[in-house]
Structure formats: C-alpha cells, structure tokens
C-alpha cells in the first residue's frame, strides 16, 4: 500500500480532469450516436451520423477548407511573427511599444474585428478597393470575400492580422533566451546579419517555433469566429470550416447528435495533427541542440 500512496496526490487532479474534460468528451461520443435535438430524450441512430459525414461531400469539403485555412494562417503568421521579432530584437528603443501595438488586435473582440474587415473588403467602396482606386490601381479592385478563390485568403489575412502579435511575443521571448555572447562572437568572426539570423538565431529559436506552430495550429483548426461573422461560411461553402458546420448544426438546425459526431471527427483531427507536429518539432529541437 505504501508505494501506491503517492498516487493519492493525483486524485484531485484526476477528478478535475475526469469531470471537466473526459466526461464531456464521453458524453459527446455517446450523443454522436443519437438524434438528440438539445431537449428531450435522444434516440439511438447507430453510425448514421458518421455515415452522413463521410458520404456527403460538403463535410469533406469543410475538412479541406479547415486544413487549408490552418496551413495558410500558421505558415504566414509564424513567418511574419518571426520577421517582426527579428526586427524588434534589433530595435530595443521601440521594442516594447511595437510589441504592445502588435498585440492590440488580439485583445479586440472577434465581432468587432469581423465587421471592420467585412467593410474593408466590401465590394462597394470598401476600404481596400478605395485604397487601390486612390493609388491609381483600380484594376486591382476585387470582390475579396465574395469570390471563392480569394475569400479564404482574405479571412486568413484578417486572422493573421489579429494574432501575429502573439507569435511576435513568443519569438521575442525566445530571442531573450539567446546568450548575447554568441551574437558578439559571431560579429567578431565577421558574419553578416543574415548569416547570424540563419545559422544562430533560427536554430536557437526552435522551441519558440514549436510553441508558436502547435498553439496556432490547434487554435486555427477550431476557428469559426471570423468565417461566422464575415461570410457565414460563404460564398457557397468556400470558407465553411468544420467548426462552423458544428455551430450551424447545433444552433439553428438543432441536430446536437450530428454536431457531436462532427465534434468527435474534429477532436481526432486536432489530436492527430498536434501529436504529429509535436513529434516532428521536438525532434527538430533536439537536432538544434
């Protein structure tokens, strides 16, 4: 008994984990096999909800939209975040001010950001088209969120604008951990700024890359706010993410059972992507040491 006593200390944590994380997941799994409408008694429907998900192209399309949106956001946000961090690392006088300014959009409500960008992208004298007109680039004017070819990129840009401050802050924290002696030694060796960035800073920022990529991937895979506010998933499903499908199925269609099945699919997707990413990025960190 004595050697197991130490596990008693884990009981409170296990209780919290079980009550607030595992039980809801188990409940969702159970509901995913029913036709629950949000009230009343659910009826079992077997695998019907899952069969619908994998035999209707609209859900597989939503999966594709979600993955593409995530790929764009994570890649661009990480790259721009690194760019700003590298720049601000070299500009200590304005670092704190710029970091706060970059972080500001992340503190704004999604609703406000969504509506602001909706009007910026508006085809009728929207901010972006008006800017192009003022610059004599009227031929660049476009129906940004009305064209399925550009809508997802337009939303991704707004998303990156909102959260690039996070990435910058994480990379700046990584920069703070790089020993200054390394930079000074490299300078004495006559290396260029690009060489120091490429061969010293980037490898030593490996853990910042891991945190940035994993966090933004998980957050973006689950995103529904900007597509919900700016396009409602349109035009014709071009920005309909899996999360938006879940919201629409829950509130409006009252198909809680089906939404639970979609949630389980998304949970598996997020877990698999996060595990694979984590493994690859951790291995990269090890190599960088």
């Amino acid at each position: 008994m004595g050697k197991y006593r130490i596990f008693l200390f884990t009981v409170p944590a296990l209780l919290v984990l079980g009550t607030f994380f595992l039980y809801p997941i188990a409940l969702s799994l159970r509901l995913s096999f029913t036709d629950f409408t949000g009230v009343g008694i659910p009826n079992d429907v077997g695998w019907k909800n899952y069969e619908r998900i994998f035999t209707r192209s609209r859900y597989l399309d939503a999966l594709g939209v979600t993955l593409l949106f995530t790929l764009i956001v994570v890649t661009v946000q990480t790259a721009i975040g690194l760019f700003f961090a590298a720049l601000l690392h070299r500009l200590p006088a304005v670092r704190n001010l710029c970091r706060a300014a970059l972080f500001l959009p992340a503190m704004m409500s999604f609703v406000i950001v969504g509506y602001v960008w909706q009007f910026i992208y508006s085809p009728f004298e929207g901010g972006l088209n008006s800017l192009f007109a003022a610059l004599g680039l009227a031929s660049w004017q476009h129906n940004w969120i009305g064209d399925p070819d550009t809508a997802l990129f337009a939303l991704a840009f707004a998303h990156v604008w909102m959260f690039v401050g996070y990435s910058t802050a994480i990379f700046l924290a990584g920069y703070a951990a790089i020993p200054q002696e390394l930079d000074e030694a490299a300078r004495l060796e006559g290396t260029s700024g690009w060489q120091r960035f490429r061969h010293i800073e980037v490898p030593l920022l490996a853990s910042s890359f891991t945190i940035n990529i994993v966090l933004s991937t998980i957050g973006t895979l689950k995103t529904f706010e900007l597509p919900f506010i700016m396009t409602r998933g349109g035009p014709d499903g071009a920005t309909r993410t899996l999360s938006l499908h879940i919201i629409d199925s829950l509130f409006g269609d009252y198909r809680f059972g089906f939404a639970s099945a979609l949630s389980m699919v998304m949970l598996i997707l997020v877990v698999v992507v996060a595990l694979v990413q984590n493994r690859v990025l951790r291995a990269r960190e090890e190599r960088a040491r």
Binding site: G38, G40, Y115, P123, R232, G234, P235, D236, Y254
Partner: protein
C-alpha cells in the same frame, strides 16, 4: 418569583390567524411571471415595454419579470433551462422551436379559445399539432421588394415593378440612368425571389417538396424560377458575381439605406430602420413574379408559448390571452410593421407598404415555407449557399442547384 407562562388571549389568536390567512391568500394570488422574448429591447421594442405595463395595470396581482434574450441566444440559453426544469413561464418562440420543445413535452397545450377560431386559416393549420396547439401567434411579417422610388423616378419609372418583365425593364432603365438597380445577395434576397417565384404557380406544393414525396429537381416551377436569375443578370439588374459576396444583413442593408441601390428583396422588419433615414423615399412592394400582382411572401414569425413546468399557469394564460385582444396586439403590430395573424385583426403596416398590402388583398400571399415548418430548417442555409454558388456560375443547370436541396431533404429522413 415564578411567573406563569404567558398565554395569548383569544382576540390576539383570532387576529393573528386572520392576518396569516389574509397574507397567505394574498401570496397565493400574487404571481411573478418570468417572460422571455427576442423583441422588447431598445433596438426592437415591439411595444412590449408599454404592453407589459398595460398588462400589469389590468392585472395588479401579476408582476412581469421580463428578460430580453436574442433569437440566437434563445437556442443556447433556453434549452438547458427547459431540460433542467427551470424554464421561464412564458417564452417567445417560432415554429422550429415549438416543434422541438413540444415533442419533448416541454410546452403546455394552450386552450383553443375564441382566439384559435379567429386565426387566419393558413396560420391556424401551421400552428396546429394534431389536436393540440402550443403557440399563440403574434404577427405575420411580409417579405417583399424594397424599392427606392427616388431612384426609380430618376430613370423615368413611377411605379414599383410587380412583374418580372416590369422588373427587367426597370433594371435596364436604371442601368442606363447610371443607377445600380438591385441588391440580389445569394444569402437572402435571391432566395426570397426564387422561393416566391417557385411557389407562385402552386403554393400548395410546399409541404410535399419538404418531404421526399416530391423533388425540387423535377419541379418545373422551381426550374423556371432559377432560370429567371440569368435573365435578370442579362437585363442588367445586378452583377451576379458581386452579389454572391454581399452580406444581406450588413453590407446589403447599409447600401440600400445609403441610396446606392434601387431595389432589394428583404423583410418588412427593416421598414422602421429605413424610415429613420432622412430623404430615403422608398416603398415596400411584392416580389415581382409572373403574375400581375407579384408575390407577397408572408413570414409567420413569432408567438408566445407556455412552459409545461410553469407554476403560474393561470397567470401565464392571462398574459397570453392579453395579446389576443385586438387593441393590445395592434400596438405590437404597428411597432413591428406586421400583419395580424387573426382574420379580424388590423395591420400594422405603414402607408409606404401599400403595394404589398394590395398584393395580399388580391390573394397573392404565400406563406414562407420555413416559418410554417413545411421545409426543414437545414434546407434554408443550403438554399442560401447553393444560390450563392449559382450566382458565381450561372452556367450551372437549375437541376444541379435543386438536387442539392433534395439532398438536404433526404438527410432529414
């Protein structure tokens, strides 16, 4: 010194008993009724604050504890309360909610009193669930074509178009006058036009189309309705690719209010807001169709329901009955620019909706199928999506678009 225990005198006992009896009787009669609605706030008062005040004056023993809960929040807030046995006494609801809540036994059947017999037959059929009725309808709201008459006059037109041919002619004239003719957003305006024209030849087909008994793909009327969209684009009514990206609930409304577009199919609930814009000279007309009258697309919107768990059932019934009285309902209808659901009820529509009124009077009204549960709710978003897709690629055949609607119907069974 030992004192004998105090024994109350008989008059004291009698007085206390009488007071207790009066107090408990009074408490039993007084009731606080919890009422929720997605109207009644500052943005959309629907005359509810003044009606509640009037109700409380007429029923001094009943106090109303009113909470505004938006329509989207209603889906989130009320189901757990209903399921948990803590529902408000009276709730505003629409038919999709009534369908689900009543099937779960969470709503109390209403007495089919005099008000039930006075209901418009179409509304009465819609609200009846077998032998029971769970909702007391409050209003029927029109969905039609907003027409900026100032802009039409610039193009030499002095009447809102009622037929598709008149609409095409108006579009051509407006385009030539340098006026953008129409907002035709795939997310609402285009569906209103398509549904109105698709159902006009046979409004009675709606229930069958909402089941697997009949398919949209094989329906000639809907095929023809969809075929009108390329014709309207050809006539210069709109740029279909631009309209595919217009949000009908923000950009569309803002553009019409700004006087940038001449026409826009939308709901009459916008009349109040549009009327507040200085210089916006508009009318609310029926949706142009093949017939001379156009189509008045009526939406049976909202009503009151009573929770089956209400401990104040009598007070709740009194509250619901209060709204069946024409004088009381009229205040709500006027605030909402809506029609009464009763055959003997008046209209709250403004004078600028005279063209729509005329279409209704001519018998050209059709019930919006989602409001009366003829079509399942998930079909609505698919119609919005598929028509947006159609605007982006008008080379698609109507059958391709309509088959997507059938797939959603199939998913319901």
């Amino acid at each position: 010194m030992h004192r004998p225990p105090h024994r109350p005198s008989l008059p004291v006992v009698a007085r206390t008993a009488t007071a207790t009896l009066l107090l408990t009787t009074g408490l039993a009669q007084a009731a606080t009724l919890e009422v929720t609605a997605w109207k009644g706030n500052e943005a959309e008062p629907a005359a509810l604050p003044e009606l509640i005040e009037r109700f409380e004056a007429a029923h001094p023993d009943i106090t109303i504890d009113f909470s505004y809960i938006s329509r989207s929040d209603t889906d989130i807030v009320l189901p757990p309360r209903l399921q948990g046995g803590d529902a408000p006494d009276v709730m505003m609801a629409d038919m999709p909610l009534v369908d689900i809540w009543s099937q779960a036994g969470l709503l109390a059947p209403l007495d089919k009193g005099d008000w039930y017999q006075r209901l418009d037959p179409a509304v009465r059929t819609a609200v009846s669930d077998g032998d029971e009725v769970y909702i007391m309808p409050l209003e029927v709201i029109g969905m039609g074509n907003f027409v900026n008459m100032g802009l039409l006059r610039e193009a030499g037109i002095d009447q809102a178009p009622r037929t598709v041919e008149q609409l095409k002619a108006a579009c051509t004239a407006l385009s030539q006058a340098g006026v953008k003719p129409m907002i035709f957003a795939g997310g609402f305006s285009a569906p209103l036009f398509t549904i109105a024209n698709g159902l006009e030849p046979d409004p009675g087909a709606a229930p069958e189309l909402g089941t697997e008994q009949r398919t949209f793909e094989d329906d000639e009327a809907f095929d023809a309705a969809l075929s009108l969209i390329p014709e309207l684009a050809e006539a210069g009514c709109f740029d279909p690719e631009v309209q595919a990206g217009v949000d009908p609930w923000s950009t569309g409304l803002a553009e019409f209010k700004a006087g940038n577009f001449a026409m826009m199919p939308q709901g009459a609930w916008n009349i109040r807001d549009f009327s507040s814009v200085d210089g916006l000279d508009f009318v609310f007309a029926p949706i142009p169709s093949a017939n001379d009258t156009g189509v008045a697309l009526d939406l049976f919107g909202v009503g009151w329901v009573i929770s089956s768990q209400s401990e104040n059932a009598d007070a709740a019934r009194a509250f619901v009955d209060f709204f069946t009285e024409p004088d009381n309902l009229q205040a709500l209808l006027e605030a909402e620019s809506a029609y009464s659901p009763f055959t003997d009820g008046a209209s709250g529509m403004a004078a600028l909706a005279a063209p729509y009124d005329e279409a209704r009077a001519a018998g050209a009204s059709i019930q919006f199928p989602f409001g009366v549960l003829h079509w399942p709710k998930p079909l609505e978003s698919e119609i919005f999506d598929s028509l947006t897709g159609y605007l982006l690629d008008l080379d698609q055949s109507p059958a391709e678009v309509l088959s997507r609607w059938d797939e959603i119907i199939e998913d319901q069974y």
